[in-house]
């Protein structure tokens, strides 16, 4: 893509990414929060695409859609006020967290500006790109697989614990509606 096209995608996507990311914590509705986070991450995927990183950008768009939709599912399932009708607030300890967030943001921006970034372009067959590929698909694969299984077990465990009767699977007391389609 030309520099103009890159800039035309990059800057709007970057601004929208930050704005939607911010609104995740402003909206009281769990459905909106999850979908705004999806929008924010999708804009991040567009930034990857604008910077000509096709595979990562498309993969980000693909994975984040599925994952954020699952997250919306879980948030609505577990939160006491999924629709935000009771004016729930997602932010606690406002002043302290704002201070921490702002100072970290400033620090990261300073680092990003002051760092002497390398200017060379790495081709697809550059030695370090190849090395990363072999590392990810080789030795580190077991680590990734293990992490993935851990996340899966955590999700299944979370659902089991949230179920009525917890992990022991106790039945509901007699005469009480267990909810669901039953």
């Amino acid at each position: 893509m030309s520099e103009l096209a890159t800039a035309l995608v990059f800057w709007p996507a970057a601004i929208l990414m930050v704005v939607t990311g911010l609104f995740v914590f402003i909206t009281p509705s769990m459905a909106r929060a999850g979908l705004l986070l999806l929008a924010s991450l999708a804009f991040a995927g567009l930034i990857f695409l604008a910077l000509a990183s096709e595979f990562l950008g498309l993969l980000m768009l693909l994975m984040m859609s599925g994952e954020m939709v699952i997250m919306v599912f879980f948030m609505i399932m577990f939160m006491p006020d999924p629709g935000g009708l009771m004016g729930m607030d997602m932010v606690h300890e406002k002043r302290r967290s704002a201070t921490v967030a702002a100072s970290i943001g400033v620090a990261l921006a300073v680092v990003a500006i002051l760092t002497d970034w390398p200017v060379r372009l790495a081709g697809t067959d550059a030695p370090d790109v190849r090395a990363i590929g072999f590392e990810v698909m080789g030795r580190s694969m077991v680590t990734f697989l293990f992490a993935a299984m851990t996340i899966l077990f955590a999700m299944v465990g979370g659902v089991l614990l949230a179920k009525y009767g917890g992990r022991f699977g106790l039945g509901a007391p007699s005469g009480e509606d267990r909810g669901g389609a039953g």
Binding site: L35, L59, L61, S65, G66, V69, V72
Partner: protein, 302 residues
């Protein structure tokens, strides 16, 4: 990709949606009445936009646009002919799958935004269904990409110039067809709208332009899904005598007609039944399809 590609893609989507509607008429009603199609379209558009007492108007009114955007993006990734390949990226197949995944939040937004019990129920059904079929779609794309050694759709078409992938990997095709039929929320997977059960479900509150957008997006999705099926499994534009573009159009039309014909003859799946089949049968079989594809690649495609 030239400056005209976006316009060409929109053109393909518009013409394709019209043809898909005619095919649907022939297949489901056994008659061809373009005038009736235009009449019903005009009638839908003349209906004023609904401003129902929706809980979440933002999500409610954004959903049709997201749906149309996803459908158009999916069409853009289909390699139509050797001269017109849409957005021809080296990871195009991932792009196609990514475009399809945005149907899910769109339908959920429609259902949740309407704030009606039927709508929310339709949206949640759709989420559950999508989580079940997303994995077979991703795994089948992997299985088809492996023999070509590339995720670029046009490479996958070119690797089939002797034998179409449907003959090599019938298992992958068998998993792919129901999955793409489900993406288009066509019967028997019309769980989110479920006429006669949920009264339109996730889309029950849409009128006028919104309703027309959703019906249009569904047709465009069908065009994209049939086109990609033709490209991935039936050799795309490869064929004797006829020009390549015509071959691709014919194959796409046949796949669309087949999907509509079979779908119209199967009763709607119950949600728990289809989830059980998807997780216990389709997902393990999709893993098997990857193994088969790996063996085939090692034996014949290297």
């Amino acid at each position: 990709m030239s400056n005209w590609t976006p316009f060409a893609i929109v053109g393909v989507a518009l013409v394709g949606a019209a043809i898909a509607s005619l095919i649907e008429q022939i297949v489901t009603e056994r008659r061809l009445a373009p005038a009736a199609l235009v009449r019903s379209g005009v009638e839908t558009l003349r209906h004023p936009l609904s401003r129902p007492d929706v809980r979440d108007a933002w999500l409610f009114h954004l959903a049709p646009f997201l749906l149309v955007m996803a459908a158009f993006t999916a069409v853009a990734f289909v390699p139509w002919t050797s001269g017109f390949r849409g957005i021809d990226l080296s990871a195009g197949l991932i792009g196609f799958a990514a475009a399809l995944t945005y149907v899910t939040p769109a339908v959920f937004m429609a259902g949740w935004g309407s704030g009606r019990a039927e709508g929310v129920l339709g949206g949640f059904r759709w989420l559950a269904l999508m989580l079940a079929y997303a994995m077979p779609i991703a795994m089948v794309t992997t299985a088809v990409a492996a023999p070509a050694g590339s995720l670029r759709p046009s490479d996958i078409v070119e690797v089939q110039h002797t034998v179409p992938m449907a003959l090599v990997q019938p298992l992958a095709l068998g998993l792919w067809l129901p999955a793409v039929l489900a993406v288009c929320f066509l019967p028997p997977f019309d769980l989110p709208q479920a006429e006669g059960e949920l009264n339109g479900g996730a889309f029950s509150e849409y009128r006028g332009f919104d309703a027309a957008l959703i019906a249009f997006a569904q047709k465009v999705l069908l065009v994209a899904a049939s086109g990609m099926t033709a490209a991935m499994f039936f050799g795309g534009w490869n064929g004797p005598v006829l020009p390549p573009g015509l071959w691709m159009a014919l194959k796409t039309a046949v796949v669309a007609a087949f999907l509509l014909w079979v779908g119209g003859r199967v009763p709607r799946f119950q949600t728990d039944r289809v989830l059980s089949i998807a997780w216990k049968l389709a997902n393990p079989l999709a893993l098997l399809a990857i193994v088969v594809s790996g063996l085939l690649t090692l034996l014949f495609y290297r």
